[in-house]
């Protein structure tokens, strides 16, 4: 039981890191970035390439991989999203086009990774990070699990503070509310959008590298599975709400872990989808969202 709780905590932390980036992009830029899962796997792949030959310190590998996935997100912003945002007058049309562009980007990145790895499972070299296992009070805990939970707490709090308190964060929220007016008031909308996409992509990368070490192997399909769970997290937590996404990530992790441990395990994926439908029906603004209903 206690061990199941530890599993859920670690799983929930990876989900949190993953969905924070997705939530940030949607909440501020109205981009449902379907390439987020591909960026997540891409960072894992970068970590694999970096540790295969050299002996970089693990922290440096992590930072470089995050920068890599962040850079791809920025490239996508510059090539497609920015142009769509400025050219398309109708918001719905812009959202649809950005969604499709991100699907295209996910195909490009996924093809790159699976061709380079020959469709094999890949993992960062074991020399780059030594996984220790501790046994205490009947629990099995590894050092990477502790790191994942700690990093999640720090990063999630920092992001929440950044969006709520900092000057940049306030500008980001202003852009989310009304890009035209905030542009008139001197906010550099395009620059801020690129910065937000970088943070979003880097967060996907952080989750991707940590997960690759923890489950000692990733492949392209992993990103897709996480995307689908992240949909559920965004919906349950309320789109754009960082605290909501954190709570929802742990909630769904606990629910899925419980189904795997005690229920019909093969229905694990159905948990997330069922939650999406339920929440959309009963409380479409998300369980944790207090904002007014603005979805029409």
């Amino acid at each position: 039981m206690a061990q199941q709780f530890v599993n859920a905590l670690v799983f929930g932390s990876v989900l949190t890191l993953f969905s924070l980036g997705l939530s940030l992009a949607w909440g501020t830029l109205d981009v449902l970035n379907l390439a987020h899962g591909a960026l997540f796997v891409f960072a894992g792949y970068l970590a694999y390439v970096l540790t295969k030959h050299g002996s970089l310190p693990f922290a440096l590998t992590l930072v470089v991989s995050m920068a890599g996935s962040g850079a791809v997100a920025v490239a996508l912003e510059l090539v497609a999203f920015q142009r769509i945002r400025t050219r398309f007058r109708v918001k719905r049309q812009a959202e649809l086009s950005m969604l499709v562009a991100s699907v295209g980007a996910s195909i490009v990145v996924n093809t790159w990774v699976s061709n380079k790895t020959g469709n094999q499972v890949f993992a960062p070299s074991e020399n780059a990070f030594h996984v220790h296992v501790w046994h205490a009070i009947g629990l099995r805990i590894t050092n990477i699990e502790v790191i994942i939970v700690a990093v999640t707490v720090v990063v999630a709090s920092a992001l929440d503070l950044w969006v709520r308190r900092s000057r940049h964060g306030r500008a980001v929220r202003a852009v989310a509310y009304d890009p035209t007016t905030s542009g008139l008031l001197g906010v550099n909308v395009n620059g801020l959008a690129a910065a937000t996409m970088f943070v979003s992509g880097a967060l996907a990368g952080l989750a991707g590298v940590l997960l690759a070490v923890n489950i000692s192997g990733e492949e392209v399909g992993v990103g897709q599975t996480y995307m689908l769970t992240a949909f559920a997290i965004l919906i349950v937590g309320g789109v754009g709400s960082i605290r909501g996404a954190i709570c929802a990530a742990y909630l769904i992790a606990i629910a899925e872990t419980a189904v795997i441990a005690y229920g019909p395990a093969s229905y694990r994926d159905a948990v997330a989808f069922l939650l999406i439908l339920l929440v959309l029906l009963v409380r479409p603004q998300g369980i944790f969202s207090r904002g007014r209903f603005l979805r029409a």
Binding site: L32, A80, G104, V108, Q224, A270, R295
Partner: protein, 290 residues
């Protein structure tokens, strides 16, 4: 071309034509919804439902026409119920909810082994439709879609897409029209699925997964969702092009993704939109000369 020439061309390309016909129906399913301003991808879920329903009925000895009719009726009833459930959702939220529906259908298909054969799916389904019958069906569907794009219904749906409140203020029952478009979309998806299982004599949960969602969306975006013509053009292009570009090999997918980014960014109206704009420009040019 002589009759013999046509028939030999037909024989060597029959599989391609069959694939295009099925893809076209699926593309119609998404296009009908998008044109009415409903961002629904539920057609893929109904593709699976129609596919399994028709396969199960035909395996139990039912006549294909009747089996397809029942599959369509099931899909129609389910999509009507789903339209009621999702009535409050719009845009990306609706897209996400319908994708969730598609994937839930997949999970059920995977786990309801007694009925669906689990991950192996259903196989040895008697081949029960001909290419000619499918082509005729697609032609009939195209005529119906043409009618749906013109006249009162077409104008109402277009107004709902552009401005739902405006449509309401002109006494258009927007909920009813949206439900109608949703049900048509679901039934077209089911029709495509039924043809799939009755033609290729097997169906697995993978046949209607996330990849099919992406495929359906791609066909409609590249072809253009303004008209059924665009959806058909998208279906032909996306089915035919991979065969021609087989030499690109494993990198084909990257080209495909790049084309999607380009199409979404630069030609939002798709091929149909480009053709329409060219036509209008030509008209203006002729008008100026006269």
């Amino acid at each position: 071309m002589t009759t013999a020439g046509i028939s030999s061309w037909f024989t060597s390309n029959e599989t391609l034509i069959q694939n295009i016909l099925i893809a076209a129906l699926l593309a119609f399913s998404v296009q009908v919804a998008l044109r009415a301003g409903i961002f629904s991808l539920a057609g893929v879920g109904f593709y699976a439902i129609g596919s399994y329903a028709a396969a199960i009925l035909v395996k139990h000895g039912m006549v294909a026409v009747l089996a397809i009719a029942i599959a369509l009726a099931i899909a129609g009833a389910l999509s009507y119920a789903l339209a009621w459930l999702l009535v409050r959702l719009r845009d990306l939220y609706l897209a996400m909810a319908t994708v969730a529906f598609d994937l839930m259908v997949g999970v059920v298909a995977l786990n309801w082994t007694g009925l669906t054969g689990g991950s192996l799916g259903l196989f040895a389904i008697p081949v029960a439709v001909t290419t000619l019958a499918m082509a005729l069906t697609v032609a009939v569907v195209a005529v119906l879609l043409y009618l749906m794009e013109h006249g009162t219904i077409g104008r109402a749906l277009e107004t709902i897409r552009e401005d739902e409140e405006l449509a309401q203020s002109f006494a258009v029952d927007t909920r009813r029209y949206r439900r109608f478009a949703f049900v048509v979309s679901g039934m077209l998806g089911a029709l495509a699925g039924a043809f799939h299982s009755l033609l290729f004599n097997s169906i697995t949960p993978n046949d209607a997964g996330f990849d099919l969602i992406v495929l359906a969306l791609t066909m409609v975006i590249i072809g253009g969702f303004g008209s059924w013509v665009g959806a058909l053009a998208g279906a032909i292009l996306i089915t035919w092009l991979p065969l021609k570009l087989a030499s690109v090999g494993t990198w084909w997918d990257a080209v495909y993704g790049g084309v999607m980014i380009f199409a979404a960014t630069y030609i939002p109206g798709g091929l149909y939109g480009v053709a329409r704009d060219l036509g209008r420009a030509g008209q203006r040019w002729r008008g100026q000369r006269a």
